[in-house]
């Protein structure tokens, strides 16, 4: 598959990818968002350097799975290893040998497989996350960015070090850019909220960047990341340079995000949708209303705490008018009970 960016993930080394992940607020064990990324990079390191081996020995099978994955080399490898680890777990059939047959039955065979392994994949994200939460708080004193431990699974994320544009942005917004990584060759920079608008304007106006199209604007909810519950993600594209860049900024629960509609008019409905689905307000948006859901809909569905079932009943009850209808029962000559 052809990739859009010049930067390929090949260039990564373990040290760099370590940083990349943490910046995302998703350390290996706690994909749900885990420790705050505010307390930053250094925070995680000790925990990964030392406690991981003992932990892996002590904890559940899922940790074992992860452990097995770690030594893998290439990202592609990881997937395979993981699958094998899973298959090796009790209750799951051993993997079939013939590739085509396996391929053909993979999706059909999934539901049962999904049912069986619950013991095999018990919440690795949640439980360890809570266990791990304390160390980062204690750790910041441990300084910042020591050489990350070599013991780290393959990652698809790596730091960007040699991109001229990213370097330019880094120079200009030195403190504001907290992270610049490439995932599968796709460049992502993270900026703090204060400089978000300024950066967007720069990316649009600057001749070298000239990101003239806002391809998409969306958000991600990380409820476990205290103080930075939301990520607003802007996907930019430059028609002239044929290049993409993803800008992320973290927001607290009730914080408003500056609107970029006056830079890219196309962001209008995208921001309205984010407001509708996540409840994030955009300062300076000309017409911030709900767009897909009714105006009086309770809650914001794409937040993680929002449940998925029976959400429309209450709203429907409020809006539907029930009427009693008098049926002339004498017209019905066959009783229901008599019908077959």
């Amino acid at each position: 598959m052809a990739d859009e960016n010049k930067d390929t993930p090949e260039s990564h080394n373990d040290g760099q990818e370590e940083k990349g992940r943490e910046g995302d607020g998703r350390p290996a064990g706690s994909p749900e968002g885990g420790p705050p990324k505010g307390s930053e990079v250094g925070a995680d390191v000790p925990e990964k350097a030392q406690p991981l081996p003992p932990e892996a020995g002590a904890v559940d099978p899922a940790a074992e799975v992860e452990e097995k994955v770690k030594p893998g080399l290439t990202p592609g490898e990881e997937v395979k290893t993981e699958a094998k680890a899973e298959n090796a777990l009790p209750g799951v059939e051993k993997p079939s040998k013939t590739p085509m047959v396996e391929g053909a039955s993979a999706e059909g065979g999934e539901p049962p497989a999904a049912k069986e392994p619950p013991p095999a994949r018990p919440a690795p994200p949640r439980a360890p996350a809570s266990e791990k939460a304390p160390p980062p708080k204690a750790a910041p004193a441990a300084g910042h960015k020591p050489a990350p431990p070599a013991k780290k699974g393959p990652s698809i994320t790596s730091d960007i070090t040699d991109d001229p544009l990213i370097n330019r942005i880094r120079d200009r917004f030195s403190g504001a850019i907290t992270e610049a990584v490439a995932t599968l060759g796709q460049q992502i920079i993270r900026v703090n909220r204060e400089s978000y608008l300024e950066l967007c304007r720069f990316l649009h106006d600057d001749g070298e960047a000239s990101f003239d199209m806002c391809t998409d604007l969306t958000a991600i909810h990380w409820p476990e990341r205290a103080g930075e519950e939301f990520d607003v993600v802007v996907l930019l594209y430059s028609v002239a340079k044929n290049r993409r860049l993803r800008v992320k900024t973290a927001l607290a629960e009730n914080a408003a995000c500056p609107s970029v509609t006056h830079i890219w008019a196309g962001a209008d409905w995208m921001e309205r949708e984010v407001y509708d689905m996540f409840g994030i307000r955009f300062d300076g948006h000309p017409d911030l209303r709900r767009i897909l859901l009714p105006v009086d809909w309770p809650g914001h569905p794409l937040r993680k705490e929002y449940p998925i079932e029976y959400r429309d009943n209450e709203w429907t009850d409020r809006h539907i008018e029930y009427r009693e209808i008098d049926y002339d029962t004498s017209l019905i000559d066959v009783k229901y009970s008599e019908r077959r």
Partner: protein, 377 residues
Amino acid sequence: MQERDVTKGQETLFDTEEMVLNMGPQHPSTHGVLRVLLKLDGETVTDLDCDIGYLHRGVEKIAEHDTYAMITPYWDRLDYVAAVSNDLVYVEAVEKLLQVEVPRRAEYLRVILTELQRIASHLLWLGTHAIDIGAVTVLLYAFREREEILKIFEDFIGARLTAHAFRIGGLWWDAYPEFVARVREFLKIIPGRIDEYETLLNTNRIWLSRTVGIGVLSAEEAINLSLTGPALRGSGVSYDLRKAQPYSAYPEFDFEIPLGENGDTYDRYLVRMAEMRQSVSIIEQALDGLPEGPVMAKVPKVIKPPVGEVYHSIESPKGEIGAYLVSDGTGKPYRMRVRPPSYINLQSLKRMSIGHLVADVVAIIGTIDIVLGEVDR
């Protein structure tokens, strides 16, 4: 008998008040359940607001509760007249995340199917766009050809509309024995038929007066509005993901990107017509070079992508459709975002319609080419 002040009566009768006109959601020319509120000065549109969401199903929320494989069929139902294209973007996004290499035969078959889908989608657009403007005949002809494509799909995939063609890692099935012959047969007739439609419309005086100069967007405006697809190329911007950021087997084919000049409804019409011809050429090349081999890569039974995220987008008939997946290493995506071309293109309706007549709004909705299943998701 009371004397009436005639002049005053005239004033109230021919008052020049602004008026709000409600169009839809059941209006046939809104292509589904789109409700448009028009503020009118006489017959001229002075302001416009879209009311959408009637078909909202919460696909992005549902996706967070389903495994990667289970999500695929939801994509068919977004843009339900181009189901195959939608599938492609999702499976390719997951494959990118898993770093799976799809067999070449599967890539070629994918290209053939998506390009057939592009022709089918453009035919549906052409028919409905023309009937909105008043040319009923075109619809009947366009649907005749679309039917052939749907039959090919039905025999390959098992469904006509919500064709669930692709799997993560390749295809469900290899092509059936007569597939190549049937597609070739279709390719033989379709260029002549496109000529036929063009004879009906290209120089038709009514068609010209209803489309030329209507809904003009400059290139800068179109880019600023995040417009993609034929609607953007009608304004002369050469942005087609098949060339700009090639995916699947597209780098191996030789084709052109048709561009408009004036950015009006007529140019967008010409662009789509030319695109159909290009699609025919791509399918021909793909059939000629169709390699032998397996159609399914080795993919783990339980799909658990590594922690990370990916954005992948392809050129669907409507524009850039994208899938943004955030994986937390479990079997379900942490977040799935659909980058919906119809939804984002529909924003430009306001910019394009102001200053035009009510009847032109119908033409402009047609020229954006929206499908409400994807607008509302």
